[in-house]
Amino acid sequence: MVKEELKLGWNNNQIAQKIAFDIPEGAYVNLGIGLPELVASYIPEGREVIYHTENGLLGMGKIPEVGKEDYELINAGKKPVTAIPGACYFHHADSFAMIRGGHIDICVLGGFQVSEEGDLANWSTGETDSVPAVGGAMDLVSGVKTIFVIMQHTAKDGKPKILKKCSYPLTGKSVVDRIYTNLAIIDVTKNGLIVRELAPNVTFEFLQQNTEAQLSQLTK
C-alpha cells in the first residue's frame, strides 16, 4: 500500500532539481557518490558553482565523452570526470583541509537514516555481513558548512528513515541542515523538523504517517 502511495512524490531527478535550485551562485560544493551526483545536471543556467571532489580536484566538470575517459582523472566514486578551465589539483591532506577547515559551502550526501536532531547514518547498517567502509563521509559532515541529505523518504520495506534516533551507527551527530526526499523538503532546526515544501499531492498528515520523528509545518 505504502509503496503505491509513495509514487505520489518527486522522482530522483526532480529531487536533484530542488537541491540544485537551493545552491547559490559562487558556492563550493561537494557532491557525494550516487544520487547526489544528479544535482550537477540541474544547476540553473548562468549560475556558477565550483565542484570539489575529495580525491584532489576543485573544478570538476562533466562526465567525459565515451572513449575520452582518463583513469587518472576521476571523482570520489572512482568514475572518470573532466576538469574545467581554472580547475586545480591537490593532495589528500589539502583536500580534507578544505573539508574539515570549513572552506566547502555545501555537501550533498545520501542517507540511510536521519534523526530529528540532524544525526546522520549513511555508512553502515551495523550488519557484520559486509566489509565496513567509510570513505570521506565523516570528514564531510564534521567540516562542511551546510549538509543536505538526499534520500527516499522511507526504506524499501516502507519503514521510516527519518527517526527520533538513528538505529544504525552514526556518520555524525547533529550535522544535517536539510533533508530532501521524494515526499518533502524538511529543515532540521533547533525547534525540530520543519517541513518547507511538500511534493505535489502529498499531505502533511501522510508525510507524518511515514515519518517517525515529529514534524511541524512552516508557519507563514
Binding site: 565496513p132 567509510v134 570528514d139
Partner: protein, 237 residues
C-alpha cells in the same frame, strides 16, 4: 653526485623486510604504483602492514599482494570496490586485520607523520563507532578525538615526471595520497613515467621536493589497473 635513479625494479625494493610498514599511493586505480607493488610480491617480504586508501581491485597490484598473503593488516578508509573479492574473502576468514579510518583522518595522520606531529585532535568521527576507545577532548566547546600520526618504513608511489634529485610532479587526480606518503616514510620509492634533467621541472611547480624521495625508477608505460581488471589478469602473469 646525488643520483636517486635506480635501474630496475628488483633493486628498487631490495631492502624490503618481513613485518615492514608500507604506504601505497593511489585512490583506486589513479596513482596506484602497480609495477612497484608487483616487485614487492616478487621480493617475497611478508607480514606487511599496508596503509592505503583502498584494498585493491581484481587480482593485480595491491589485491595481488593481499592475495599472496603478504599483508597482515591494512589501514584504509574504503576497502570495497566493485571488483574487489580478495580482501573481503580474507577479511571474513579472519586472515587479515582491518583498521578503518575516515579518509580525511587517514590523510592527516599520514601528513602528521611526515611533519613530525605525533598526534592531533579532530572533530571527525566523534560520536561514531570509529571513535570508540579513543581519547575525547573538548576544545572550544566542541568534542574532538585524539588521532596518532602514521609513519612507514617504505612508501611506494607513482608520478608523471621526476629528476635525479627526486623532485616530482604528478598527473591529475593520480596525485591523491602520494605527496604526504612520500614525507612519512624512511624510504620512499617512486615509479615515474619520465625522468627529466634537473631543472626540467619548473621549481615553482615541484609538488614533492626531492628531500622526501629516496629512489626513482622510470616505468614509461605503467599498466592501468582498470584495464588489467577488465582483462581479468592475475599477477604473477
Amino acid at each position: 653526485m646525488i643520483n636517486k635513479i635506480v635501474g630496475n625494479l628488483t633493486d628498487a625494493v631490495s631492502d624490503f623486510f618481513d613485518g615492514a610498514i608500507l604506504m601505497i599511493g593511489g585512490f583506486g586505480d589513479a596513482g596506484s604504483p602497480i609495477e612497484l607493488i608487483h616487485a614487492v610480491i616478487d621480493h617475497g617480504a611478508k607480514d606487511l602492514t599496508v596503509i592505503s586508501n583502498n584494498a585493491g581491485s581484481g587480482h593485480v597490484g595491491l589485491a595481488a599482494l593481499i592475495e599472496h598473503k603478504r599483508v597482515k593488516k591494512i589501514i584504509c578508509s574504503f576497502p570495497k570496490t566493485a571488483n574487489s573479492k580478495v580482501f573481503p574473502d580474507l577479511f571474513f576468514k579472519g586472515e587479515i586485520e582491518l583498521e578503518l579510518n575516515p579518509q580525511g583522518t587517514l590523510a592527516e595522520r599520514i601528513r602528521a607523520g611526515g611533519a613530525g606531529i605525533p598526534a592531533f585532535y579532530t572533530p571527525t568521527s566523534v560520536n561514531t563507532p570509529l571513535a570508540a576507545g579513543k581519547e575525547i577532548r573538548i576544545i572550544n566547546g566542541k568534542e574532538n578525538v585524539l588521532e596518532f600520526a602514521l609513519k612507514a618504513d617504505f612508501t611506494l608511489v607513482k608520478c608523471k615526471s621526476a629528476d635525479r634529485y627526486g623532485n616530482l610532479i604528478y598527473n591529475k587526480t593520480a596525485r591523491n595520497f602520494a605527496p604526504i606518503m612520500c614525507m612519512a616514510s624512511k624510504t620512499t620509492i617512486v615509479q615515474t613515467q619520465k625522468i627529466v634533467e634537473p631543472g626540467g621541472i619548473n621549481p615553482e611547480c615541484v609538488v614533492t621536493p626531492g628531500i622526501f624521495v629516496s629512489r626513482v625508477i622510470e616505468i614509461p608505460n605503467p599498466a592501468s589497473e582498470t584495464n588489467l581488471v577488465l582483462e581479468n589478469k592475475k599477477y604473477p602473469w
